[in-house]
Subunit: 87 residues, 2 copies
């Protein structure tokens, strides 16, 4: 499955959120990651994130598609993600 | 088509970027918008954004799918978007 993840979390929890996201996904820009995961990896990612965030304050949204083929990505302006980031 | 838009733009250009995004899309959280657009609306949105940003510094990434049915959205923790935001 293809996953786009955006987070809006308190500064003191950002390092743990970032570390978890980097383990599974590619950084797109600012508070956004994306990547291809198995269903099991996606469950592990969300399970870990749920144990890290304060659900009354932090918010993480995932958009998922069954396949990366279903998603087109376009960049206006500068490309911030590194070379491994191309879909 | 379904559009997820994330922006990373200089503070002085954020108001114009936000105004343009709000005209076409729903706010998800922080620097993220999403919504359903026609191809013509998507072209108009990207055309306006290209005229607003400094392409050597600012970056806007769009992820698009042919239909909202192809995308599942999940929220961990707090829901930040307002009621009109549900897919």
């Amino acid at each position: 499955m293809f996953v786009i993840l955006v987070y809006d979390t308190a500064a003191e929890r950002n390092p743990k959120v970032l570390k978890t996201c980097r383990k599974y996904l590619h950084w797109t820009q600012r508070s956004v990651f994306h990547g291809e995961l198995t269903a099991a990896q996606y469950r592990a990612l969300t399970h870990t994130l749920n144990s890290v965030i304060d659900p009354s304050y932090d918010s993480i949204v995932t958009y998922t598609a069954r396949s990366p083929d279903m998603i087109d990505r376009a960049t206006l302006g500068a490309t911030l993600g590194g070379p491994g980031e191309i879909l």
